[in-house]
């Protein structure tokens, strides 16, 4: 690119920024360091290389390497969204209201394992699991309690739910209706990313093909009825937690994303209608600069894939907007207070990489569910980064670092090579069915463990600087009685509802599942008459069957 063309691009960008600022000013009239030195919105090379615009470009513009918004955190900080939920809906509701009161700006709901796998709290396989890793939700009644006194037109809510995502989203819509809030006003995200469940997280129900159909049904329904909702959060987080490298995290996540896009296109949807509602979820691990480069590489690679492969024209279809969570797998049970520092560095890498929302883990998560004190420290960590460290005052501050740019290029190239191999196998679904992705992740996990055990990789407090320090803080424990109480509540619900209506709605859902109608309206109908999560999922299990994982060890 000639200097003149670059100047022209910059002028256009500046004009766009001026227009944006007229509507929405930045957080401050002027930004300064503590010494009083002025901080510019954007720093650029004095003489950009020929490929500058192609590789880095300007913030808010293709290929989005430097961020998805033209003013990034000068306009507003990321959403501070702590993943929380445990025990009953009433207990979790209290925690949410506490977090909102502490300045958190979005909710993030953790569901327990029975809920995630579509079992009611009184199912035999739910014994011992109810309320343990998240909140137990079996029916609309639980959901009403969960969001009691939380105005759904004011908060955005992220729900980590995959296989039964359609059911939980339907419950959310139904709770909003009861609050007088229309679906068009709802903002939030359902994770709804089934492919990473098969390779990394294990809370699958149905086989891949019907799962992909449910997902495209959700895309289509939300495009018309819940337009502000993020219909999927394509997740590298769990791929990384399962042991992948940063390169594999980018590669497998984007490959999964491509499978969803292709499935939606095959279902007759327009890429520029559902594309803007795709969001992503990444892990922030401990190799600080590699992580920064990872986010930048992922943005650039996805932008190219959407534009070149899928013909997306809408800029919002081309950009990766992503949530980040610090790496749970990096936390140590020994010297757990060291985890506060780990989380802070990881969170900083996500911010320097341009995340749109962030969850910081609590120091005690290698031991138990986080306590209120440890959750508060985790949230404060984000606030310190956002308001005190100054890294939010200019866009993409590490751009132009020889090392960061080189890492960005290398991660992109290696991830692209993986995607090429997955393409050759017939895409993500086939690669998962063949066990390829699972095996690659397992090998990386084993290598990482061996590197720690040989001392090649240092983990402070675990394989170096080891002490006998014991964790002395409080632990949050969910009692087995929660399961019994939930089972009793369910029995009362089933006795008190209109069971004929429930049966009729489930029969309608079953018929639709056998055909090709969009399932969302039927699930919503079933939820409204208090059909339970387990009943709805059993109806679908009856038609679709259950997934059997291939053995990879």
């Amino acid at each position: 690119m000639s200097g003149q063309n670059f100047d022209e691009s910059l002028r256009k960008w500046q004009a766009g920024v001026d227009k944006l600022l007229a509507k929405r000013p930045e957080r401050k009239a002027a930004f300064h360091t503590i010494s009083g030195l002025p901080i510019d919105r954007l720093y650029l090379p004095a003489a950009p290389d020929d490929d500058y615009m192609e590789k880095l470009g300007l913030p808010g513009e293709f290929p989005y390497t430097r961020g998805v918004q033209p003013t990034m955190y000068r306009g507003q900080l990321w959403t501070m969204r702590q993943y929380a939920g445990f025990a009953t809906a009433a207990e979790s509701n209290k925690r949410y209201r506490y977090l909102l009161g502490q300045g958190q700006t979005g909710l993030s709901v953790a569901f327990d394992l029975p809920t995630q796998i579509g079992y009611d709290a009184d199912h035999a396989l739910a014994h011992g699991e109810v309320g343990k890793v998240g909140v137990s939700i079996s029916s609309l009644k639980d959901m009403e309690t969960l969001f009691d006194q939380i105005p759904l037109d004011k908060v955005s809510t992220s729900m980590t739910i995959n296989s039964p995502a359609a059911v939980l989203l339907a419950m959310y819509i139904a709770v909003a209706e009861k609050q007088g809030v229309g679906p068009a006003q709802l903002r939030g995200t359902i994770q709804n990313d089934i492919l990473k469940e098969y390779s990394s997280r294990g809370t699958y129900i149905f086989p891949p093909r019907p799962s992909m159909r449910i997902i495209t049904d959700i895309f289509a329904y939300c495009a018309s009825d819940v337009p502000q909702w993020n219909t999927i959060s394509i997740s590298g987080y769990h791929i990384r937690e399962a042991g992948s490298t940063a390169v594999q995290e980018v590669a497998f996540t984007l490959a999964n994303g491509m499978a969803y896009v292709q499935a939606a296109i095959d279902a007759g949807l327009d890429v520029d209608v559902f594309g803007p509602r795709l969001s992503f979820f990444f892990n922030a691990h401990s190799d600080f600069l590699e992580e920064v480069a990872k986010y930048r590489a992922a943005r650039r690679l996805w932008a190219k894939i959407m534009r070149e492969r899928f013909g997306a024209k809408n800029p919002r279809s081309q950009m990766i907007r992503f949530h980040t969570q610090t790496a749970g797998c990096s936390l140590t049970a020994k010297q757990p207070k060291n985890n506060i520092m780990r989380v802070a560095f990881q969170a900083m890498s996500a911010v320097l990489g341009g995340t749109q929302s962030l969850h910081t883990n609590s120091m005690d998560e290698a031991l138990c569910l986080p306590t209120q004190e440890s959750v508060t420290i985790a949230l404060r960590t984000q606030q310190v980064i956002g308001y005190e460290t100054g890294v939010t005052e200019t866009i993409d501050p590490l751009a132009g670092s020889y090392y960061v740019e080189d890492l960005t290029d290398r991660i992109e190239a290696q991830a692209a090579e993986y995607i090429r191999r997955i393409d050759e196998m017939g895409g993500s679904v086939s690669a998962i069915e063949q066990g390829f992705i699972q095996r690659e992740i397992q090998e990386a996990a084993y290598k990482y463990q061996k590197d720690i055990e040989s001392g090649e990789r240092v983990v402070v407090g675990q394989n170096k600087f080891v002490t006998d320090e014991e964790f002395v803080g409080d632990r949050l424990k969910v009692d087995l009685s929660v399961g019994q109480a939930q089972a009793q509540a369910l029995a009362a619900l089933r006795a008190g509802r209109d069971n004929a209506a429930v049966q009729a709605r489930l029969a309608a859902l079953q018929a639709a599942a056998k055909g090709s109608d969009n399932l969302m309206p039927l699930i919503l109908d079933a939820v409204r008459v208090y059909a339970t999560l387990g009943e709805i999922c059993d109806t679908l299990r009856g038609v679709f069957g259950e997934y059997q994982a291939p053995m990879t060890i």
């Binding site: 394992l113 029975p114 995630q116 796998i117 079992y119 035999a124 396989l125 739910a126 014994h127 011992g128 699991e129 343990k132 890793v133 469940e197 990394s200 997280r201 294990g202 809370t203 699958y204 937690e241 399962a242 042991g243 797998c329 936390l331 140590t332 049970a333 020994k334 290698a366 031991l367 138990c368 569910l369 397992q442 996990a445 084993y446 463990q449 055990e453 983990v459 675990q462 014991e470 964790f471 632990r475 424990k477 969910v478 087995l480 994982a549 053995m551 060890i553």
Partner: protein
């Protein structure tokens, strides 16, 4: 001397099998035979697999906090089936204060996050109850 046979088992609903897969690989590298159950196994399924596969060791992994229900249930079923000579070890996210209760029902050792796979191999080799020759 024959190889030590280990059943690597995932009871309960959590799908986090990174730890058990890493350990399975390490035990294999150390010369043991490892059979993995896959996810979401009920206590009944695990005990039946241990019986059928005639294993010397059962390694249980739970991260969800459901160990307080699942481990005692599995140990009770193993006793009923006469599997008293099978060494049982556990791992996952198991709080220190729960360890005595797990040992009281017959789980010989708990290896939490940060455990060294070499230590697990050594523990199994030194504590396996059945004769290997």
């Amino acid at each position: 001397m024959r190889k030590i046979r280990v059943l690597a088992a995932k009871p309960g609903l959590d799908g986090h099998d990174r730890g058990i897969k890493v350990i399975a690989a390490a035990l294999r590298d150390a010369g043991m035979e490892v059979i993995y159950t896959g996810l979401r196994q009920s206590p009944e399924q695990i005990v039946s697999a241990a019986l059928q596969e005639d294993v010397d060791v059962v390694g249980l992994s739970v991260l969800s906090g459901a160990h307080d229900y699942l481990f005692p249930k599995i140990m009770e079923l193993m006793r009923q089936k006469g599997l008293d000579d099978v060494l049982v070890i556990g791992g996952g996210i198991i709080p220190e204060e729960d360890v005595p209760a797990m040992k009281a029902v017959g789980v010989s050792a708990i290896f939490g996050p940060g455990a060294n796979t070499g230590d697990i191999v050594k523990f199994i080799q030194e504590n396996v109850k059945r004769r290997l020759n």
